[in-house]
């Protein structure tokens, strides 16, 4: 089975529901583990990386959580396949650049993904829709506890799990959530929030993690320190901060609607106007405008549009998802035309946004 047959459709992926998913798009916990004595992937020779991959892959595939998994060596995936996985947030950009000697194991519902020989021998991650950090940690903890019986991890009583980069040492854990924060961006409070979050020792990054831009008002918040604090404490601390950010975002949205309704309707109306009528549009502009449409959905300004359609468009308008629909290699200009065609088609049945929220069915007014 190839990766495209295995992956759920973008429409299914966009329909996964979780708590607070108006603002929290997804939660993720990843842990780094290494095999005792073996050179880390960045330093190991190719033959050693292949040997490690060949010993780790069967161990992971045999886990009960991984029944009916997708498992592949990175050199058997095309560049397009790998980039699709990046656009689905299943692997890192760094991992997409790997070839022979690196691998991937993904479970049936795409909630667990193990990268073999990325920066560490094992980068195992659990993904959940909405705000579910604790559940994600429990899922990855349970995989790890099974795996430690089969493998000898590089572990030191003082320093914890040993990782290629000292920044991941100790717990090797990175707990993160992907947040949609158009309210804070429009209210121009986002920089204050980012600075405050940074002061707490947490990192704020763009859509695809390290070193990427915050496209579509989507931000990733994660812990930075991994040593000297237990996993449960890190999860707890991040959850508290996230709840505060959610509250700030909600307040920003409410006060924008109260104080600057015209600004809000103007942004959302223009976003709709362009997305539903453009004949050429870049993926960056698309994401920024879809973000505003998503805000419009949250404000109940669209009668025929739901969040799942916006989230699906977020996925399928990305360059590699778009390329995948066509057999010929597309230039950026050609993609912009086809993207606009697709958006016009999908938004055909959506009428322009209201300037007053639509009362929910059954709600008294």
């Amino acid at each position: 089975m190839n990766i495209h047959e295995f992956l759920g459709s973008p429409s299914d992926a966009a329909r996964r529901e979780g708590p607070h998913n108006k603002i929290v798009m997804s939660s993720r916990v990843r842990i780094a583990r290494n095999v005792k004595g073996a050179a880390f992937p960045g330093w190991a020779k190719k033959a050693e990386r292949i040997r490690i991959l060949e010993s780790l892959r069967p161990a992971i595939q045999s886990l009960p959580q991984m029944s009916e998994c997708f498992s592949e060596s990175m050199d058997n995936l095309t560049i397009l396949d790998k980039n699709i996985l990046v656009e689905r947030h299943l692997i890192s950009r760094e991992h997409a650049a790997k070839n022979a000697g690196s691998g991937l194991v993904l479970n049936r519902d795409e909630s667990l993904c193990v990268m073999i020989n990325e920066e560490d021998h094992l980068r195992m991650q659990a993904l959940r829709p909405g705000l579910q950090l604790k559940q994600a940690w429990q899922a990855i903890d349970s995989i790890d506890s099974r795996l430690e019986k089969k493998l000898e991890y590089a572990f030191n009583t003082e320093l914890g799990y040993l990782t290629a980069c000292p920044t991941n040492l100790g717990t090797g854990i990175r707990v993160s959530a992907m947040l949609h924060l158009p309210g804070l961006v429009l209210a121009e409070q986002i920089n204050q929030i980012i600075q405050a979050v940074n002061k707490l020792g947490l990192a704020v990054r763009g859509l695809y993690g390290e070193g990427t831009e915050a496209l579509g008002n989507v931000f990733q918040v994660s812990n930075q320190m991994t040593l000297g604090e237990s996993e449960a404490d890190i999860v707890e601390r991040l959850s508290k901060v996230l709840n505060q950010i959610i509250e700030h975002e909600e307040n920003a949205r409410t006060s924008l609607l109260e104080k600057k309704p015209k600004t809000v309707y103007n942004h959302i109306g223009r976003a709709y106007g362009i997305l539903a009528n453009a004949h050429s549009i870049s993926s960056k502009e698309t994401m920024n405008l879809l973000s505003l449409m998503r805000l419009g959905v949250d404000f109940a300004l669209f009668s025929e549009l739901d969040r799942a359609l916006v989230d699906e468009l977020f996925i399928i308008t990305q360059p590699n998802h778009l390329q995948r629909r066509y057999s010929d290699k597309l230039s950026a200009e050609e993609r912009d035309l086809l993207r606009a065609d697709m958006l016009r088609e999908r938004l055909k049945g959506v009428t322009r946004p209201k300037t007053k929220p639509i009362p929910a069915a059954g709600e008294k007014n």
């Binding site: 004595g37 100790g170 070193g211 604090e229 237990s230």
Partner: protein
Amino acid sequence: MLCCVCKEKEAKVHLTQIVGDKMQKVDLCEQCAAQKGVNDPQGFSLADLLLGLGAAQEMEQATGGPDVKCPNCGFTQADFKKAGRLGCSECYVTFSEGLESLLKTMHKGTKHTGKVPQSLQQSRDLSDKIRSLERKLAKAVADEDFEQAAAMRDEIKNTREKLSSLSAS
């Protein structure tokens, strides 16, 4: 794209460094680039960027120069300066002195307080138990409570056996 050092200004300098077969990318604004001496490729080290300015040098002094080599994987201090990553798990022993100050600035603490592999956790629990029994034994001997001392001696013996069977498996 924002500068990955100050995270405030737009990144204008995009750097790719290849170490071995590994590619590292860094995006900087003009000021940070000048500050980090990026225009002078000789003086620029990714380890400094990733781990904080001066980190690599500080570590080099503490471990005893750029030529210290990990006996397990052959990784040197100079390699760390270039890559900002270590060679293998044994490097944490080889370069332990230099790493200590680095870890202090980087993390909340320098001692792991999180999850421990179960096999290690069990032997750790047993070692703790032996230590506590030994204290009880010493006290019993001092109090001339020989009945209690004999009981403690037997229990220590049992626990030691359990511990050695654990590490043997």
